[in-house]
């Protein structure tokens, strides 16, 4: 299921925050979206996940089923219920039978080391635990396109590693397409095989992740990577 973006524009008042000519995300790829603040990275994800709408242009996703697209945010909202019920919420929406739902949530909790937190109040968890629950919740219904908006910002390295491992696993085993906004270039290198570099709402460069990070073709990309690596 391919994601195609054509002449996508998003204006906030008089300010144009996104202006993309054409972008194609192939099925099963892991694409990092990098760029400075205000580049339009989050706006792009929000339009793809339909929590925002484009001023002009279109996003075409082959499945045409918006319920197969999901997004994990930097600061996820936890429902005021247990960890287990948070993970099961999307499955309840889809009327999964109780036993199947429990099996799926158990699987995810085990993979992400959340079994001991099953009955904990989700809104009382630490940042890392919250992010793992948000990821398990997003993966529960086996989405075909997973959007992540800086999911590991402000999270400890061990939890970050667990999340990255999970992302690689579901990509390999379930063929989930991943679009990943990150400021961490080392993380982009570890997780992704494709890369989009955005600046001021425009696509500057796209292609193989390793190649661009090692040898960017565009001056803007090179400057950004150099600056980021200095930090």
């Amino acid at each position: 299921m391919k994601l195609e973006i054509k002449r996508l524009v998003r204006d906030y008042g008089t300010k144009r925050v996104l202006d993309l000519e054409e972008v194609t995300i192939e099925k099963g790829t892991r694409t990092a979206i990098i760029g400075p603040n205000g580049a339009g990275k989050s706006t792009l994800l929000n339009i793809v996940s339909r929590i925002d709408s484009a001023t002009e242009g279109e996003v075409h996703y082959e499945s045409e089923d918006p319920r197969l697209v999901t997004q994990v945010f930097q600061q996820p909202y936890m429902l005021r219920t247990s960890v287990e019920r948070n993970i099961q919420y999307p499955l309840r929406l889809r009327n999964w039978p109780e036993d199947r739902m429990k099996k799926r949530s158990d699987e995810l909790m085990e993979e992400l080391g959340l079994l001991d937190l099953r009955n904990q109040k989700a809104w009382k968890l630490s940042g890392g635990e919250t992010q793992k629950v948000a990821l398990a919740r997003a993966l529960s219904f086996q989405p075909s396109l997973l959007l992540l908006d800086e999911p590991t910002a402000n999270i400890d390295p061990a939890t970050t590693a667990e999340i990255e491992e999970m992302l690689l696993k579901i990509n390999q085993e379930e063929g989930t397409t991943i679009l990943f906004v990150t400021h961490n270039l080392a993380q982009a290198r570890r997780v992704c095989n494709r890369l989009l570099f955005l600046d001021k709402g425009k696509l500057v460069e796209s292609g193989d992740c390793q190649s661009i990070l090692q040898n960017p073709a565009e001056v803007k990309t090179r400057r950004f990577i150099a600056g980021e690596l200095l930090i």
Partner: protein
């Protein structure tokens, strides 16, 4: 001081004696207040949610009017309802003045803006994140609305209790439209006013104590609910 202590002692005797007149008055007070709060909740909560989740022309003016009506003096609400319902008024043919129905209408005018205003503030703060989560997990419009109500249940309960507090304690509106008619429209607050003017302090104190007990009970229920849900 003797008058007060004797009044309190007599008040408890009166409450325990099962005086039918007093219990009739308490019953009518609760009926009028619960009815008005129920109707105000049905009107005010969806209105508050819609206001909090939609933008439209004139919203600012509408909100200012609602905030003004949140502190509407009960005598003005009572007078307005009385003028509308009086024989020569636009709804005079309904002959509702000096009935519990008129008292309920007057209290609806007082309580609905409170519930709208408090719901609006709650929704404005929380709706964007809940809405965003609902969309990305595949919830439809109705499912998102249900999710919002569930997630904001503590705040919404507090809004309803605030409305009830306003209804059960006000005297001006029910006095004007109800007329404090014995056995027909006499409620606790209007009765206290009359007893005070007659110098029957023990009965006035008895009714006052009942009012306080009701207020305490309602707030205790809310407190327990908040404690249970919030911990």
């Amino acid at each position: 001081m003797d008058v007060i202590s004797a009044g309190i002692a007599q008040a408890f005797r009166l409450i325990l004696s099962g005086d039918p007149e007093i219990y009739g008055i308490i019953g009518l007070s609760l009926f009028v207040s619960f009815s008005s709060v129920l109707i105000s909740t049905c009107l005010g909560m969806p209105a508050g949610i819609l206001l909090g989740t939609h933008s439209f022309r004139g919203k600012g003016v509408l909100l200012r009017i609602i905030y003004t009506f949140m502190s509407l003096p009960p005598v003005i609400a009572g007078l307005t309802v009385f003028l509308i319902l009086m024989r020569r008024g636009p709804l005079g043919h309904l002959q509702l003045n000096y009935t519990p129905t008129a008292m309920i209408i007057a209290q609806i005018c007082l309580v609905t803006p409170i519930i709208i205003g408090l719901t609006y503030n709650l929704v404005r703060e929380k709706a964007p994140v809940v809405n965003r989560l609902g969309i990305t997990l595949g919830a439809g419009r109705l499912e998102i609305m249900a999710l919002m109500i569930r997630e904001m249940r503590i705040g919404l309960t507090a809004a309803v209790v605030s409305g009830f507090g306003r209804a059960i304690s006000e005297v001006g509106a029910v006095m004007i439209v109800g007329g404090n008619i014995k056995g027909k429209t006499r409620v606790m607050t209007t009765y206290i006013t009359e007893l005070k003017s007659m110098g029957d302090y023990s009965r006035a104190i008895a009714i006052g104590i009942v009012l306080l007990i009701i207020a305490f009970a309602i707030n205790a229920i809310l407190y327990n609910f908040q404690e249970r849900e919030g911990k």
